[in-house]
């Protein structure tokens, strides 16, 4: 490649990524030269500033038409922009959690890494959102995954953390292997790694039965491989163990940013590749994605049931939230299965709502966990008496997670629910499972409420809420309620700026 050609690319569209990369590099250098005894918290704040700057620069590109550079491997379309906002805001909140996380179990030694590894993971996720090529997509995925592995095990002297990291590495390895296997089939059939070219080739291929059969196998392999990232059943089993053992900010990262990235990649690959290939040789046949949607629906149903039902048995709140997070992935899969007019909106909105309600919940889990020294649900007994505002905050977030009207969670579920009915034929079974399992979820969500409001407190000690956590709490509650009462804020933003994602395949 000529240097001139290289300089010809419109590198500016990568500004948000460059900022994150730059800040991550800066942090690692600063960490190297800072005296050992110095508090590393300042690095965290620099990271926060970096993410904020990246968000602002991304906002500057909102009106930018679809642009791609590096031979269409990196593209900035509305899909990428919309989801990058979620990734950035999510990481911003998570980093704030990390700043106020108590540095124990050997974490103090690696406090610097603790901050900039979040940034590299975020960078990977952002690349996934923007990738127009399987190679960039895969590299983004690996950057995210490997950073997360280290983060899970970053509290070195905590056995549970070590165990979690090990489990995560093994399961992650399996997931990557299966994904790559699936992707290699698609490459083999189309002879290209570029997603747009792939969809073009497949659309005109017409395909023999055998080719389509192979493509279907690729469909399953890729779906299963990526399902690990979403933690959907039955590929979810790593999640509870890893969530429990990881430091709380990392758990929040996995359940918010990492999951969002998983959905981004799955939508990107499946809609553009399998959404364009006819399921049979016939010209007017359904796209393969719709033809095989029952399988995704099956996974969605299983995920909602397993996530919500097993959550009933959990006493450890982090494990409970792991299962709840599995269940929420199931809800989003319902939207993905139905592939209705609403699907993109519904997924985007749900992830945004989920970001707010979940990050706030994890902030409280971190706070209470550090105070009580345990993540057992009994640590929440009498929280209302000890810290009424904290308890009410948690209650709002839990109500939202349960999908009670007036909160963002309700609007999110309503969207998905309406989407499931908006297709022909309607997905009645999935919609009923969604409702029934939501009812089941009330039991464990209200279990926490009962602890907080109806149980006597063990002691009367008050909480000191660090500034960073306070920001997260206020942000999450305001977000949850605002999106619940005035969801049009988000939908208008989406519709005004992203043209219903029409440029997805351009």
């Amino acid at each position: 490649m000529e240097l001139e050609q290289l300089l010809d690319f419109k590198w500016s569209i990568m500004t948000p990524e460059f900022i994150i990369l730059g800040v991550a590099t800066l942090l690692s250098i600063l960490d190297l030269f800072m005296p050992k005894s110095m508090d590393r918290k300042i690095l965290g704040w620099i990271g926060v500033a970096g993410i904020a700057a990246a968000t602002v620069s991304l906002a500057g590109f909102i009106d930018e038409p679809v642009t791609s550079i590096l031979f269409d491997t990196f593209r900035l379309d509305s899909f990428a922009k919309a989801f990058k906002f979620i990734l950035l805001i999510g990481s911003l909140f998570v980093l704030l959690l990390a700043i106020s996380f108590e540095k124990k179990d050997g974490l103090a030694e690696f406090a610097g890494e603790f901050y900039y590894l979040f940034l590299t993971a975020l960078l990977g996720a952002m690349f996934m959102a923007s990738s127009g090529d399987l190679i960039t997509l895969f590299i983004g995925l690996e950057l995210l995954t490997i950073s997360s592995w280290v983060l899970v095990g970053v509290t070195k002297r905590n056995k549970k953390s070590n165990e979690s990291a090990m489990k995560y590495v093994i399961n992650g390895g399996i997931s990557t292997a299966i994904t790559l296997f699936g992707l290699s089939y698609i490459y083999g059939l189309t002879g290209t790694t570029n997603i747009k070219d792939m969809s073009g080739t497949l659309m005109t291929m017409g395909g023999s039965q055998n080719q389509l059969y192979l493509l279907a196998i690729a469909f399953f392999m890729t779906l299963v491989g990526l399902s690990f990232k979403l933690a959907t059943a039955p590929f979810h089993m790593w999640a509870p163990d890893v969530y429990e053992g990881a430091p709380t900010p990392v758990t929040a990262f996995l359940s918010i940013v990492s999951k969002t990235a998983g959905f981004v990649i799955i939508v990107r690959i499946f809609v553009s590749i399998f959404g364009s290939v006819p399921a049979t040789g016939a010209q007017d046949a359904l796209p393969m994605l719709l033809h095989l949607q029952d399988y995704i629906g099956f996974l969605a149903g299983a995920t909602m049931i397993i996530g919500n039902v097993i959550a009933l048995r959990q006493r450890n709140i982090k494990r409970m939230f792991a299962y709840s997070s599995i269940a929420h992935a199931g809800y989003i899969l319902v939207a993905f299965t139905s592939m209705s007019y609403f699907t993109f909106d519904a997924i985007w909105f749900y992830l945004l709502a989920y970001l707010f309600m979940n990050v706030g919940a994890f902030a409280i889990i971190q706070l209470v966990g550090a105070k009580a020294g345990s993540d057992d649900i009994s640590a929440y007994a009498g929280l209302y008496r000890r810290a009424p505002i904290l308890a009410v905050t948690f209650a709002v977030l839990i109500l939202s997670l349960a999908g009670i009207p007036g909160t963002a969670g309700f609007i999110g579920k309503l969207n998905i629910f309406m989407g499931a009915f908006a297709t022909e034929p309607a997905h009645y079974v999935l919609a009923s499972i969604l409702i029934a399992t939501s009812v089941v979820s009330y039991f464990y969500y209200f279990g926490i409420m009962t602890q907080m409001f109806f149980r006597p407190a063990a002691d009367d000690s008050k909480f000191n809420i660090p500034v960073a956590l306070l920001v997260v709490l206020i942000g999450s509650v305001v977000g949850t309620i605002a999106l619940g009462i005035l969801p049009n804020i988000a939908f208008d933003f989406l519709h005004d700026n992203f043209m219903q994602f029409k440029d997805f395949l351009q």
Binding site: V224, A233, Y295, L312, R313, I404, P405, A431, V439, F443
Partner: protein
């Protein structure tokens, strides 16, 4: 009326204010709540009077746009809404006042008032909603308020369990409501009541779909209004403070189900199957709950079952196309049942027990509560000239004219039961020997008696707004300008009124013979002069106690058995199933990575095998 949206905001303000500053105000919090609900009441009355002379007012704005679907939010003041506004704000205000005395000395006094504010806000918001989605919003919020108030005495395990049960049982009904609502949305393209009615009237919705959605929505009402078989939460909910029972579980929230059916009445009338379902469920509930009420010994539980039974009456009325009858009974019931609960609270306040076996002879000690309780009892028993008489009569006429002779018969029997157990309650509590251990019984403070007096007046006079004798103002007004709601008043045969009167008096008489007769037998002279008559009466008494009472008692125990073991059993069974599933799933979570990978691979294999077996494309 343009500003009717302010009405729910007063209690909301009270809620927020007390939540933030309640601790500082201590028991003066009550005045904040009282003042603000009084403002709601005044405003509601103004709206009601304005509604008499002007047409329905509705204002809406776009709330949410998804694709090309627009969802609106706003408020509507039609006849039903205006009436409900007054009922809710009035009862709420009276309960606020009453609680100042009843909850005196309670440590979490401000919290109680804050919750009351939240609940009142939600309930007022509910009745102002012009569309199903908004209704659903407030419907759930009402549930949350009720959850908090039932569990107010959270240190009692029963209260905690009851709160949770109430929330979850009603949620089961809500699932029906939600599904029905969304289905209707896809048929009609709108959540608006008006749009739904227009589409139904224009025949745009298939008949089967109307029936299905109507029944699904009715399931929501079944949960909220404690209809069979989702009624079991309501008696348990009596663990909450008594003023709460009066507000939520007598006058407002439980009536929300009836209100919902009434608000969507044109939808229901479009389907005969749905109407018949409502009528049958209503009648079954009425008689089922009334018979259980016969053997209860807890004063509040008797009232709870009587509430369930009366709500069944309202449903029966609506199901028999008696829109006016249902709404009319909803109104009168709100007054006399709230009165009964508050009076029961006053009794409990005085004697510190809820067991009626331990009470007696309180008439002389509770000089105010006693007569007030009697008025409530007369009203609910359907004694002529009291409000319950007129509204129950309307329902019986509606059931008869609606062509349901069997349901009519059930309703008559239930009326007999009602009169019987209500007077049993009255005689056991207020007549007979006073217990020695109840020496220090005092009448409640005037803060508590005044609200009861207001309700007692209403329990007497509220019936006269719709009578066959003096005119059917309420009925005519309610259906004005809306033919889908039927006629204001259906002329029924005169014998129905006579039957209703006879039945109610017979119930009272029988109850007197059994529970009041002790005082008679002590009066030797009276017994001698009336010996023969008394003998015969005694004979009847024996006869009754041997046959009807025994049989009904047995039947009642049998139903109670079904209630405890079958209905709750099914609930428990479902719970146990879910729990077992959870346990199995958790067991699989061994902590071994090998297991996890194996499960994942099996999952992948299953997907592939299914794909291969179903043939894929081959």
């Amino acid at each position: 009326m343009e500003n009717a949206w302010i009405i729910p905001l007063f209690p909301l303000l009270s809620f927020l204010f007390l939540l933030l500053f309640g601790k500082r105000f201590k028991e003066s919090s009550a005045y904040v709540g009282m003042l603000l609900t009084f403002a709601s009441l005044v405003y509601s009355l103004l709206v009601l009077f304005e509604r008499f002379s002007s047409p329905t007012y509705k204002q809406e704005g776009v709330w949410l746009t998804i694709g090309d679907v627009q969802l609106t939010a706003g408020f509507e003041v039609n006849q039903l809404n205006a009436l409900m506004l007054v009922i809710v704000s009035l009862v709420s205000f009276l309960v606020h006042t009453y609680s100042k005395g009843y909850m005196h000395g309670e440590e979490r006094f401000p919290v109680f008032y804050a919750y009351l504010g939240l609940f009142t806000f939600a309930m007022l918001g509910l009745v102002l909603s012009p569309n199903l989605l908004q209704t659903y919003f407030f419907w759930e919020l009402v549930g949350v308020g009720s959850f908090l108030l039932i569990g107010f005495y959270f240190y009692k395990d029963e209260a905690k369990a009851a709160a949770k049960k109430a929330f979850i049982m009603t949620r089961i009904g809500d699932v029906g409501l939600l599904i029905g609502m969304i289905l209707l949305f896809w048929q009609v393209g709108s959540f608006e009541y008006d749009a739904i009615f227009a589409a139904v009237a224009a025949g745009e919705v298939a008949q089967g779909m109307i029936t299905l959605t109507a029944i699904l929505i009715f399931i929501g009402a079944v949960g909220k209004s404690g209809q069979f078989p989702l009624h079991t939460w309501l008696p348990d909910a009596m663990e909450g403070p008594t003023p709460v029972s009066a507000l939520i579980h007598a006058a407002t929230m439980v009536a929300a189900g009836v209100y919902l059916v009434a608000a969507l009445f044109p939808l229901f009338t479009a389907s005969d199957v749905a109407l018949t379902t409502i009528a049958v469920i209503g009648a079954i509930t009425a008689i089922f709950a009334a018979s259980i009420g016969l053997v209860q010994t807890d004063i509040k539980r008797v009232l709870a079952y009587s509430t369930v039974s009366q709500l069944g009456y309202m449903m029966l009325a609506l199901g028999s196309a008696g829109y006016v009858a249902g709404v009319f009974h909803l109104m009168t019931h709100a007054f006399f049942k709230a009165l009964l609960f508050l009076a029961a609270g006053s009794v409990i306040h005085a004697v510190h027990t809820q067991n009626i076996e331990e009470m007696g002879g309180l008439w002389k000690k509770l000089r105010v509560t006693g007569p007030l309780f009697l008025i409530g009892t007369l009203a609910i028993s359907g004694v002529p000239l009291f409000s319950g008489f007129f509204s129950k009569d309307e329902i019986l006429i509606a059931a008869w004219e609606g062509g349901h002779p069997i349901l009519f018969l059930l309703a008559v029997i239930a009326a007999f039961f009602t009169a019987f157990y209500m007077f049993r309650l009255f005689f056991m509590v207020f007549t007979g020997k006073s217990r020695s251990e109840m020496k220090n019984v005092h009448e409640s403070p005037s803060l508590m008696t005044l609200p009861m007096i207001v309700l007692a007046v209403l329990a007497v006079v509220s019936g006269y707004v719709n009578t066959p004798w003096f005119g059917t103002f309420l009925g005519d007004w309610l259906v004005e300008g809306n033919e889908a709601l039927g006629h204001g008043h259906v002329e029924g045969p005169a014998w129905i009124m006579i039957v209703a009167t006879v039945v109610s008096l017979a119930g009272i008489y029988l109850s007197w013979l059994i529970y009041g007769k002790k005082s008679l037998s002590r009066n030797w002279l009276g017994a001698q002069t009336l010996y023969k008559v008394l003998y015969n009466k005694y004979y009847i008494d024996e006869f009754y106690s041997m046959t009807i009472v025994k049989v009904t008692k047995g039947f009642s125990h049998f139903l109670r058995y079904i209630d405890t073991y079958l209905v709750e059993g099914i609930v428990l069974g479902v719970t146990a199933f879910v729990q077992t599933l959870g346990r199995l799933g958790a067991k699989l979570q061994t902590g071994q990575v090998q297991t996890y990978s194996a499960v994942a691979f099996i999952g992948l294999a299953i997907l592939m095998v299914i794909f291969a077996l179903t043939g894929g494309y081959l």
